[in-house]
């Protein structure tokens, strides 16, 4: 297990205090109201959690990936609905990408607002025609003097309402040179308040404190300083953002699962059946041991994946090795956490199935992560690609 630095230990403690004091007591309410209260968002901003991977020069905390993981873990323990975890992780991961590839002008414009909690910074690559096959997307971007014109649509995107109403936007990818396929795609920042953006909303199964939706993009004009990295190199750039998010998700799933296991375990220790604590029965305690072991493994692998990202940024890592370990960490993250939470619900009997039980919200939240930021199946494709080599890639 990674040994945390003194700084990381203090950050962990601060986030834990914040999450337990300010988020845990109102978590279920966030889902009822379908929003994260402004004072929670402002509190996260004051602590320095939002877009925490941005350089301090732009208002960020300049955190590395492992430290970003420490925050994700504590938020996941405190927010059974996962809403603040998503709000946090998307901005940490895609803030990292903007910080690395964005222009000075864009960073100066976006980060101070995002880190202050005024704007939301999201990711929008999925389209109604497909998410896994990024190249299969239809959205296109064309150069127009000093500007670019974007047309298309995006779907199943987190934080649409937040960005469209409060301000902010999403990191997006589109075809600039369609005939070149993956080699002709460009990544850019798309403000959701721009003229030509029409949002729509979707009711999701979980993490209801943050919105999910889509938007049509109709002749939206963006300045050239919104382009991230080189034009037509977007397909390669975007994967660094996905991977950052995937590694954070692995840690979030492990932490959410472990928290529910703890709830289930406490219940099983207290609840008496046939004159004995429920936890004494092997059906319960063997399952507890198995889930705990899997989730601890998952957490450790999640941190290893985050460390691989840090090493790569320090010039000590390898792009493909990072992709592989990140995919390994995310592959079973949602499944293992969901299985553990499902049993924790079962142990809690009918209460576990009631809306008052925090763990049902955790299950609904964690379930999303076998899809969001790359599906379980895609993780398998990546690991297989790294093991077998490019000649045996299934999707080519």
């Amino acid at each position: 297990m990674i040994e945390f630095t003194e700084e990381q230990k203090l950050i962990k403690q601060s986030v834990s205090e914040f999450a337990q004091r300010k988020i845990a007591p109102i978590a279920l309410e966030m889902e009822k109201n379908k929003e994260i209260p402004q004072d929670v968002i402002k509190g996260m901003a004051e602590l320095g959690l939002l877009a925490c991977t941005a350089d301090p020069a732009y208002g960020g905390s300049g955190l590395n990936a492992v430290t970003a993981g420490v925050i994700a873990e504590e938020l996941a323990k405190g927010d059974c609905t996962g809403s603040t975890c998503v709000f946090y992780l998307v901005q940490a991961a895609w803030g990292f990408l903007l910080n690395k590839y964005g222009t000075e002008e864009a960073k100066k414009e976006i980060f101070p607002k995002a880190t202050a909690g005024d704007w939301f910074l999201g990711i929008a690559t999925t389209e109604s025609g497909g998410g896994t096959d990024v190249v299969g997307g239809k959205t296109n971007i064309k150069k127009d003097g000093d500007f670019f014109i974007v047309n298309g649509e995006k779907m199943y995107i987190s934080g649409v309402r937040e960005a469209a109403t409060n301000g902010g936007g999403h990191i997006t990818i589109a075809h600039q040179t369609p005939e070149l396929g993956s080699r002709g795609m460009t990544v850019f920042y798309l403000p959701l308040t721009a003229e030509g953006i029409t949002p729509t909303y979707i009711e999701d199964l979980g993490r209801e404190g943050i919105s999910c939706g889509g938007f049509s993009i109709d002749n939206v004009k963006i300045p050239k300083h919104y382009i991230l990295g080189e034009e037509n190199k977007g397909f390669y750039i975007i994967h660094e953002g996905y991977e950052y998010a995937r590694a954070l998700i692995a840690v979030i799933c492990a932490a959410a699962g472990l928290k529910s296991l703890e709830n289930g375990m406490n219940y099983a220790k207290e609840r008496k059946v046939f004159g004995q604590p429920l936890a004494k029965f092997q059906e319960i305690n063997f399952r507890l041991a198995e889930h705990y072991t899997k989730l601890e493994m998952l957490k450790r692998l999640g941190y290893e994946a985050l460390r691989a990202i840090d090493l790569e940024q320090e010039g000590k890592g390898n792009r493909f090795e990072t992709s592989k370990i990140v995919a390994m960490a995310k592959m079973f993250a949602s499944d293992w956490a969901c299985e553990a939470i499902n049993d924790a619900l079962q142990w809690q009997g009918a209460f576990g199935y009631s809306r008052e039980c925090p763990d049902q919200a955790a299950w609904r939240a964690v379930r999303s992560f076998s899809l969001a930021e790359g599906t379980r199946e895609v993780m398998k494709m990546i690991v297989a690609r790294e093991l077998l080599g490019k000649e045996l890639i299934s999707y080519k």
């Binding site: 003194e6 230990k9 203090l10 403690q13 601060s14 914040f18 004091r21 925490c52 955190l63």
Partner: protein, 261 residues
Amino acid sequence: MRFIVCVKQVPESNDLKIDPNANRVLKKGVSTIINFFDQFVLEEASKIRKEGDEIIAISMGDSETKSTLMRCLALGADKAILLNDEKFLESDTFGTSNILAAALKKIGDYDIIFCGNSSLDTGSGQVGPEIAERLDLPQVTYTESIENVEIGKIKIKVQTDEGYSIIESELPLVIAGIPPSYYQPSIPPLPKIIAAQKKPFEVWNAEDIKGDKSKFGSAGSLIKIIKLYKPPKREQGIVITDEPKAAIEKLMELLNKDKVI
């Protein structure tokens, strides 16, 4: 002015495990936090500090105590000192106050020494007053807030059984603080945690603080623990959830039944 804040690291949970043979609380694997009262006085010190003032956080403890001192640096202390030596082990309040007083003498030049009124684990409330005695300083306990401070003089609001009183004192002095009921400890934000890593942090051992070593650690302690045990678990109380009128009737019935009234 120079303010010194004495802090203690305490176990986070109330559910402590005891080693019955050694009569000691088992520390391994137990997560720890700053004593709640100590964070309060540190925040009070930060409130009254003016430009040019200095806040030093000091703690006697093992190497793990570093995290508590780092938190103090993130909460506004300018410098931290860890008193760490095998000779300090097994100190009771008498030994602890001897060690702290020796370190405070070494620092010299102070205006206010802050302590928590008591600690969450052992809760004796003796260390602050003992330090004051050893340094021959006035002491004010149960301090809730500092009303005013100027060179050589301070006005303090203290909690009393009847309410509050306002006390004036000369400086230097020892203040033992207790937070008001509405106090919410601040959470150190990330930028301050990051900045804290660059602040001065010193570790002093028994040699560094000089003083009479026979008064440190178990040798200098007066208390002998004969038996350490958990109090028996209290039965769960009765919670009445009826409407007010019915609840009062039920409460009266119970109080009459138990002959309370």
